[in-house]
């Protein structure tokens, strides 16, 4: 009968679906492992760079070197992750690595700032993280994740401006103030949607205000 016919087909059809789900789960499981590894390395790098806030004198160059060594591991881990993501399905699984990528973008941008006092470009990030620059090239850094990283950088630098003064460095805050001003000018060119990135950007003005007040305190006390 038609129905029993269908039944047979059904089972076959559904078994093929089952394969789909099994594969999907395996891919996700594998991705999760890579993300866990990236997460671990990101935490280690954070552990290194957060000592920049220590009021005792910090050897920034060596701190950057140590971090850069860890980034070699990051590149390896991204390479592994990349192999696990089916071609053309970057955005299907994006949610898995979105978070850790934002954090790594922040860490990379922080190191680049500490080294050269410039804003990290996507090329910089691409080389540090070992991923493609542009989406068309395959596994890349989503632009919004990159920008989120830059906004986290802004907060961290605002904190650094405060702690620099405590450590007796009155020049760094002034430089940070200029840098954040320029970053703000850049962001204000963008026509952001009403999403997480926009909300995070709205917070940038508080970081800027904080640093401006630090510069004010230094100036009025003749410390500049």
């Amino acid at each position: 009968s038609v129905i029993s016919n269908m039944a047979e087909t059904d089972t076959n059809v559904f078994s093929s679906f089952q394969d789909h789900f099994a594969q999907d789960q395996d891919v996700r499981e594998e991705i999760r492992k890579s993300v866990r590894d990236l997460d671990q390395t990101a935490r280690e790098i954070l552990n290194v760079v957060q000592s920049v806030h220590k009021t005792a004198s910090v050897d920034i160059p060596s701190l950057c070197t140590k971090s850069r060594e860890k980034f070699a591991i990051v590149r390896q881990q991204y390479a592994e992750l990349q192999q696990k993501v089916p071609k053309n399905e970057y955005y299907r699984f994006h949610d898995h690595w979105r978070n850790v990528t934002q954090r790594l973008a922040f860490l990379a941008a922080l190191i680049i700032y500490l080294e050269k006092e410039t804003l990290a470009t996507r090329d910089d990030l691409s080389s540090l993280l070992g991923v493609e620059v542009s989406p068309s090239g395959g596994f890349h850094i989503d632009l919004e994740d990159f920008l989120m990283g830059l906004l986290t950088l802004a907060s961290e630098l605002a904190r650094l401006a405060v702690n620099s003064v405590t450590a007796g460095d009155y020049i760094r805050p002034v430089k940070i103030s200029v840098f954040l001003g320029e970053l703000n000018d850049g962001f204000r060119l963008l026509n952001l949607k009403n999403d997480a990135l926009r909300k995070r950007f709205d917070g940038l003005k508080y970081d800027i205000k904080k640093v401006e007040e630090v510069v004010y305190d230094i100036t009025i006390r003749g410390l500049k």
Binding site: R43, K54, V165, L223
Partner: protein, 268 residues
């Protein structure tokens, strides 16, 4: 109607009925125990909070020692409540997989009190020694002499390794590393309060140390690989506290280094 009654009559003699009578007892016992734990936990919270308020009076106080002694006394009350909780959990040992497992089973009922206690205890320790109380040291505070059968080893084995060696004829409240950590997270808030109070009271000496103390804890939390969602929120609060402390240190530094016009006049 008669059929109904017949069914009922047999029903109450049935093995099903008998089985559910024992289920009833088990469930009631669990619920009653939960209630007792919740109450003890609330009392412990109140008691711990008062200790914390007491300790804040140390800043700028002439009678620092007297206050610490008073705190010591209040810790006696807290200890009684902790013992109550420990005994309650131990009593479930027969039916709930030993004291150790009761610790996990009822955690939700008493964790608030225990965390507040950890907060108070670590704050007291910090006021006295300027350092963080260790997990092992904290565990010693929740041991109670006991002639009863020993409680099995617990979570602490995962962390301390000499725990197992300890005398077995004590009753121990197996505070989990997680609850310890959460209590410590709250400690940083109290440190922040003390830090800013110190400036207002003119006691500016220890500021940098306080700040480093909390920064150390914050750094450790930020790089802690922990799945518990309970920690996430606390880290945010902790970050806010630390920023307040850093700003305070900054304020004291920047004004302390002011170049006065008269100095410049001298230079002229």
């Amino acid at each position: 109607k008669r059929r109904q009654d017949d069914r009922k009559a047999t029903s109450e003699d049935s093995p099903v009925y008998a089985a559910f009578q024992t289920y009833q007892k088990e469930l009631d016992a669990k619920h009653d125990r939960t209630e007792r734990l919740v109450k003890a936990s609330r009392d412990l919270t109140t008691c711990s909070k008062r200790i914390i308020f007491l300790l804040h009076r140390v800043v700028g106080a002439a009678n620092r020692l007297k206050i610490l002694q008073e705190a010591e006394q209040k810790f006696g009350d807290a200890k009684n409540l902790l013992e109550k909780i420990a005994r309650e959990l131990h009593a479930d040992g027969n039916g709930g997989g030993g004291n150790g497992d009761a610790t996990h089973r009822y955690r939700r009922s008493y964790k608030w009190g225990v965390q507040e206690y950890i907060e108070a205890l670590s704050f007291y320790h910090y006021c006295q020694h300027g350092s963080l109380i260790g997990y092992e040291e904290m565990l010693k505070m929740v041991e109670f002499p006991e002639a009863a059968p020993p409680s099995p080893p617990t979570a602490e084995d995962a962390v301390g390794n000499d725990a197992a060696k300890r005398s077995r004829d004590v009753l121990r409240l197996a505070v989990s590393p997680l609850d310890y950590i959460l209590g410590i997270a709250d400690l940083t808030g109290e440190c922040m309060r003390m830090c800013i109070n110190s400036v207002g009271s003119g006691e500016k000496d220890g500021l940098a140390g306080m700040c480093d103390f909390v920064r150390g804890i914050y750094d450790a939390f930020r790089t802690l690989n922990c799945t518990s969602g309970e920690i996430g929120q606390k880290v945010e609060v902790m970050e806010a506290s630390l920023r307040k402390m850093e700003t305070t240190c900054y304020n004291v530094t920047v004004r302390g280094s002011e170049r006065f016009p008269q100095v410049e006049e001298d230079e002229e």
